[in-house]
Symmetry: C2
Subunit: 431 residues, 2 copies
């Protein structure tokens, strides 16, 4: 137990550089907390010549990450390449086959191949740790899998993508539209050149799939997550939401009910006073509700070299101390087989914003459709008059089933006086 733990790091981008810097800057403190030295002895990356601002002196270089996995002088493999397939997956599979614990920040890999990887890890008695895969530096994996392990988890709600939260926060604060803020976020480095992974909700859905698996003790099921992104959110809707006492957030939401597990990522209206509504900018936050603990909220930076390195090295310290946990919180045989609940079975309140021709009778037509489909209205808002022109109308429903809402929206969209497909947003009361 007192020999140094020898680490091989594959992938030396922002996070990899951060891990090397953290292990070097805080070496004495980490040794005290880990009970032994943690030393990077081998690395692998695409470009050997690139200056990463950290010294690679004394570390073996492997062009092929799969060779790093089999380096006999590496005790633990850290995978920071990213991507659900390709070299990252190959590396992790090789490391597990070689009996080496793996630490990864790769949410896509875990969300898509997590069940198969967990089976391999369990068969080989090898640890697979991934605190850095969800919500950056916030120790939410440890909290769900260990800290709240005594609880039946009832629900999870989280702001899991910093790019989306940053964009929505700036849209609200500046009253500007999505495209303009996205372009500025790209210029400032808060959004990728190809932003679809973030703004279409895929990244948040990967993270939610992981959290839901841990929370409800069942194999990870990314394909069962209902996903909508934030491209359709306009400054107009953010303004109306504010007027109604809400903020628009992209949330990941998972809930256990008698019918099974629901998991969905979509923009929604959250009461302005709710704890999650007040989490702004690049911050992430997760609200977990357990049957004994009640509501617990964790908030912090969800990305970046420092926070992500903090999570990777926490996993290394756990391994150095011999602290391990089954990948999904329990052995495969002890996991639940609860079914997934489709989004069509969702029930909740809805915000519906139409652009209609401002003429008598339009509201009567719209509300007749809602009545016919059993959708009950809580409130209606029409600001400004402009006869025979397009004006926005906002409707808020009482609790309604998703399938009824969809049928109503289809009929409303077909009305002559309705000029474009309505904006439909779910209203949530997380935590």
């Amino acid at each position: 137990m007192n020999g140094a733990l020898s680490i091989g790091v594959a992938g030396l981008g922002t996070v990899g550089g951060g891990v090397l810097r953290l292990l070097s800057d805080n070496a004495a403190l980490i040794e005290a907390r880990a009970g032994r030295k943690i030393a990077v002895t081998a690395v692998s990356a695409r470009d050997r010549g690139r200056d990463r601002g950290v010294s690679l002196a004394g570390m073996r270089w492997h062009d092929d990450p799969r060779v790093l996995a089999e380096d006999p002088n590496v005790d633990v493999v850290v995978e920071l390449i990213g991507g659900a397939d390709g070299p990252a997956r190959g590396l992790v599979e090789r490391a597990i086959a070689a009996g080496k614990p793996v630490v990864t920040a790769n949410k896509a890999l875990l969300a898509v191949h997590g069940a198969a990887l967990a089976a391999r890890a369990e068969a080989g008695g090898v640890a697979l740790a991934f605190e850095a895969a969800v919500a950056g530096g916030i120790p939410v994996i440890k909290t769900l899998r260990e800290g709240l392990a005594a609880n039946r988890i009832l629900s999870i709600a989280g702001i899991l993508n910093g790019t989306c939260n940053y964009i929505l926060t700036r849209m609200r604060e500046e009253g500007k539209d999505f495209a303009e803020i996205l372009a500025d976020a790209q210029r400032l480095g808060y959004a990728e050149a190809d932003p679809s992974f973030d703004i279409d909700g895929i990244d948040a859905a990967h993270k939610l799939a992981i959290l839901a698996a841990l929370a409800f003790g069942r194999p990870v099921a990314f394909e069962a997550v209902h996903i909508e992104g934030i491209r359709g959110i306009s400054a107009l809707d953010i303004g109306f939401a504010g007027e109604l006492g809400y903020r628009i957030k992209l949330l990941g939401l998972a809930r256990a009910s008698a019918g099974g597990i629901s998991a969905r990522v979509h923009p929604c209206l959250v009461p302005a006073a709710a704890p999650l509504a007040r989490v702004d900018g690049v911050y992430n936050a997760v609200v977990i509700e357990g049957d004994f603990v009640g509501r617990v909220m964790l908030e912090g930076r969800g990305a970046g070299a420092g926070p992500t390195a903090s999570a990777v090295v926490a996993d290394l310290i756990d391994l150095a101390r011999g602290r391990t946990t089954p990948v999904w919180g329990a052995a495969a045989g002890a996991l639940s087989d609860a079914p997934s609940v489709p989004i069509s079975a969702h029930a909740g309140c809805y915000y519906l914003r139409l652009m209609v021709v401002d003429r008598p009778g339009v509201i009567a037509d719209v509300t007749a459709v809602l009545r016919d489909l059993g959708v009950s209205l809580e409130s209606m808002l029409q600001r400004g008059r402009s006869p025979a022109e397009a004006v926005p109308v906002v409707l808020v429903t009482h609790e309604t089933r998703e399938d009824a809402m969809r049928a109503a929206v289809a009929r409303i969209t077909a009305l002559d006086a309705v000029l474009e497909p309505p904006t439909v947003l779910r209203i949530e009361l997380p935590g």
Copy 2:
């Protein structure tokens, strides 16, 4: 590893009853997450006849908790008696001497005798776990000791006593004075019949001492915590604070600086927009700042049977899985010997509220004292006029050293026109 873990529980009050209920209600889930059954086989409490709403069938009864510690069929001892000395301490010492892991919710015991107990536990290679001792169900011990273990912790700030936060929240919402809300809180069960432990800050200081030891990796030092309670807070000050954009909270604050570790519990003014300012009622919250992770905040219920039981059983699951950590995060030999910084060396901004005779020249006298001691004023507030009567005057200083402030307050108190000792509150910007 697959045999049942046999638990002895000493103390069957609210928390003890909660632990028994949780282990029974969630038995299947706990077995899956722990990898083995966790069964209470022995109990000890004062009154055998009392109805606790949970069945004690099949559990051995020990009148003397120390005998429970030596029960050969008990693998792990859970101490829920409470109190820094007496039977709780005797039980924990006996259990450690008998080589049995201990799980406790006892913050007083840990804060006062934690260094000696850690030495015994380390010498005996025995685990001593205490997630439930701080902030109830919020996994803050695990977060500091494991989740953020890669970080040099810079500061901690927390709302650590639900009773005080409940009283201060109601005082603000209802505009009522301390004594009235305290009496009502006692009637409703939110405050003890003898409330001094909570309202004088002792309970929060126990918890802060534990958090500071973990955060800064040094032996626990309760005697070095500066403590002030909330008895002196008036509705008048809460009102003025609100007018200035602040809320009054009882915070535990610990910080590492070049000179050493400062730790203090006192009521203070927090900007209304700060995350901690918005934590109301019986909720607890802790903001931790680490050098790599940045700011992380945890929020949840700080007391009560359910949340505390959640923390106790999380510790039991860790033990069942073989996950252990040195008591103060590192072996005794690897702990820091950083000195404690006395409150007299504190520097910060202050809120000062005087009751003065409303006559010309009084403010000039007060500000002359401040000038003479080098205390610079940021703002001054005097509401209402009432010549020759008592009126409140509020002063807010720029950053000032505590000792200069104390000297100034002594001189101001001695002025003829100052009618009662001033209220002095520190202004904090946590997180």
